[in-house]
Amino acid sequence: MRAIVRRLAATFALVGAPANAHAHLVNTRLGDFYGGMLHPLTGFQDPLPWLALAILAALQGPRRARWLLVAFPVGLLVGGGLSLIAPGVSFIPLLDVALIALIGMAVAAAVVMPLPAVIGLGVVIGLAHGYQNGQAMTESTDHLLFISGVTAIGYASITMATACATAFLQGSGSWRLLALRASGSWVAAVGIMAFGLQFVAPATH
């Protein structure tokens, strides 16, 4: 099976190679603001915990969830700024995956959190992700535009996701809560495995 996956990977790497050459040009197309907006969407390390965070907030009810719409973007903005002031903090990637597992488990358990905890979690995740995305900036990047882009997409994503999860929960049927909790459990599973991976030295294959 492993061999098959590798063969497949090789095949697609070949097929995908020309497309790969274009991948980085997209970032520059609409300036650094849009580069910043696009950056978190190029992988799962950002959208996955954002989704879980939005669901967790929705589980707290709209009155507490709405504070996330402020707390999270502020965290992103400050985190992006910190990446300029103090680059190279090495534990952030580890923190990121640990947070994926943590939020996922909180959703699975449908934890009820006090308002300060909701805000705090939003700020912490914002800080970590803003920092991590900010690290992607190069010398020639317009820092302000890039960080604004990251903040804007974070704000828009978290707002839409929280609203969708809230609307979903307000429908009838107990299965809705169950479905959200199950999705949290799946996020946690990904997070746990990604966390474990941080401690596994990739062996020669």
């Binding site: 946690a188 474990g196 401690f199």
Partner: protein, 201 residues
């Protein structure tokens, strides 16, 4: 056997290649990782069958199993994944998956209703081995996180299939259909067990 699986993988790969999100947008590694992650659980029929059986059984058992299983399963599976990643060698993983297929299939076919903790242990054994099989692949994926997401999405959807079929339990005829599905899963498990032991194929 291996050959058939290879063909299925290739066909599905071609299919998914058409659906893959824009390589121009996503980094190619993400697309690759996601793809192999999705393909991995659904190209092994033994895993597919057992996974559907878990959903079927959950629906059959009703409350509280129907909500404990989908929530607890991924977490236990992740533990299996950790074992697989860390290089721990579990004995006879293929046999164990096939065997859990047989056991789950038979239990569904018999409409067995053991206590929740017994059901949980049986499902957990399968979950650990299922996670283990994929955890071994994870570190080598083009993008491990994307691989994890793909693998979890595919597994979750299979689960959901089982639960949806299982909802037939409310209808009189549906009950029989489910038990027949259970029997079919048992047969698939038996086939794979024999194949793994080298008796056929």
């Amino acid at each position: 056997m291996k050959d058939a699986r290879l063909k299925a993988t290739a066909a599905l790969g071609a299919l998914l290649a058409l659906l893959t999100p824009a390589p121009a947008l996503a980094h190619i590694g993400v697309a690759l990782g996601l793809q192999s992650g999705i393909l991995h659980p659904i190209t092994g029929l033994d895993h597919v069958a057992a996974m559907v059986a878990v959903g079927l059984w959950g629906a059959q058992l009703g409350n509280p199993a129907i909500w404990v299983l989908p929530i607890a399963f991924p977490l236990v599976m992740a533990l299996g994944g950790l074992l697989g990643m860390s290089g721990v060698v579990l004995a006879l993983p293929e046999e164990a998956v096939a065997l859990s297929g047989i056991v789950l299939g038979v239990l569904v076919a018999l409409h067995a209703r053991p206590q929740l903790w017994i059901a949980a242990v049986i499902v957990s054994v399968f979950a650990v081995f299922h996670g283990y099989a994929h955890g071994r692949e994870l570190p080598y994926a083009a993008d491990p996180l994307a691989f994890g997401v793909g693998f979890v999405v595919a597994t979750g959807l299979l689960h959901l299939c089982g639960i949806l079929i299982g909802l037939l339990v409310r209808m009189p005829l549906g009950e029989r259909v489910i038990r027949a599905c259970g029997a079919a899963v048992g047969c698939v498990g038996a086939y794979f067990l024999l194949a793994a032991l080298g008796a056929i194929g």
